[in-house]
């Protein structure tokens, strides 16, 4: 126990770096996934081709390989070395952004066609159509997957320790060498990651509730609990 209390400040410092990289990576990934996701739903063949190529390339390369490329290989090409943190945020954002783009594309395509036709009938401009009708509905659909991607990105951020950014994993490695408490050093880091993940999960759940409520979709908590068994009963009754 003294190990945990003594080393808590060091771990918190590491967690701060992890958090910073996660938030930075998420911001980049979000912008990328919106841009390429919307491009992927357009009618123009060129726009869709751009989106597909982006997604296939950056989904294909592992974040670690991408980060190594940005950090070790790219300086040889352009003669300027990125800060490790920047390379990490870029690599994670580009990689997770590709997954996010697929998510956005799927969510927009899942909005009922009639909604789109209604906006045309009401003479909305394309921008209004997206902003006022399509995106609010797609948003509720894409949030759960975005929540998972945030966790994935946070977990992926552990690779930055390999280019000597002092995040949680790096701190754990250092504590292992300094104190020799192998088990405790890594256990502490794992617990910190778990707490961070639970916080992010909580936040996405809140965002999901808000998005659904704005669409007038949210059944209240107790009502939802009652609805599930009754529906299961219907399904069972139907089959027997």
């Amino acid at each position: 126990m003294t190990f945990f209390t003594d080393s808590l400040p060091i771990y918190l410092n590491g967690a701060w770096y992890t958090l910073m990289i996660t938030v930075g990576g998420c911001a980049l990934a979000f912008v990328i996934s919106m841009i390429f996701g919307i491009l992927g739903t357009m009618r123009s063949l060129v726009a869709r081709a751009i989106a597909t190529v982006y997604v296939e390339i950056f989904r294909g390369v592992a974040a670690l390989v991408l980060m190594f490329w940005l950090f070790y290989a790219m300086p040889l090409l352009i003669g300027y070395r990125l800060e490790p943190v920047v390379a990490a945020i870029l690599a994670l954002g580009l990689n997770v952004g590709a997954y996010g783009a697929e998510n956005v594309r799927g969510a927009i395509n899942a909005v009922p066609r009639a909604q789109y036709e209604a906006t045309v009938a009401l003479n909305f401009e394309p921008l209004q159509r997206m902003r006022l009708v399509i995106l609010p509905q797609a948003w509720a659909q894409m949030l759960p997957t975005f929540g998972n991607l945030v966790i994935e990105l946070m977990k992926g951020s552990a690779v930055v320790s390999l280019i000597a950014v002092s995040d949680l994993t790096f701190v754990a490695q250092q504590m292992r060498t300094f104190t020799g408490e192998t088990l405790l050093a890594f256990l502490a880091a794992l617990i910190m990651y778990f707490i961070l993940a639970q916080i992010f999960l909580f936040l996405t759940r809140m965002a999901e509730r808000r998005a659904n409520r704005r669409l007038g979709r949210l059944p209240d908590r107790p009502a939802k609990k009652r609805a599930i068994p009754s529906m299961a009963g219907v399904a069972r009754g139907g089959e027997s």
Binding site: G60, A62, A73, Y193
Partner: protein, 215 residues
Amino acid sequence: MDWDFIVEAMPALLAGLRYTVLATVMGYALALVLGLVVAMVRKGAPPTVAKTVFWIMEFIRCTPLLVQLFFVFYVLPSAGIALTPLTAGVIALGVHYAAYTAEVYRSGLDGVPKGQWEAARALSLPGVRTWTSVILPQAIRRVIPALGNYLIAMFKDTPLLFAITVPELLFEANRLGGENFKYLETISAVGVLFIVVSVLSAIGIRFLERRYAAV
């Protein structure tokens, strides 16, 4: 770009790719088996056991694979279990992905209509046969594409084994790059290899989806 060097480095990179594939295949086999066991325990065991297993899996799913790799690689030997880097990597990959495949299996198991369980009980099939000849064949068939996705995801996570000195693709690329100061060529080659494999496997998954589309 020094193309001759890429050609020169190819044999070493392919030797690294062999380790990458080996780790993926063994880790995936472990994840498939362990995930199924976890899903079955969560379905069949008493609530306290099922709940404990759920939280362990939740913990594994919410923490980075890299730290888990370090954990297996450094902690198990200090507990007296000697491991080669590759074995440690396979164990960590397998256990980490078991947490995901367990969820996939669970969705498959939940998709099996309750009437199937009741029919098996009515026919007084023993528990083992209920699982092996009634429930699992129906449950697994519809989750094959989803399981395939995790094979690709795991393949893309194998570069992490680099951190525990498994001589896989990225390790070899980094070594060759360092020895000859040709990082650009070697790491770009690794990136391209990954894109090629991932595009090919995406096509494979689409084929699986058409073949085993959810009933």
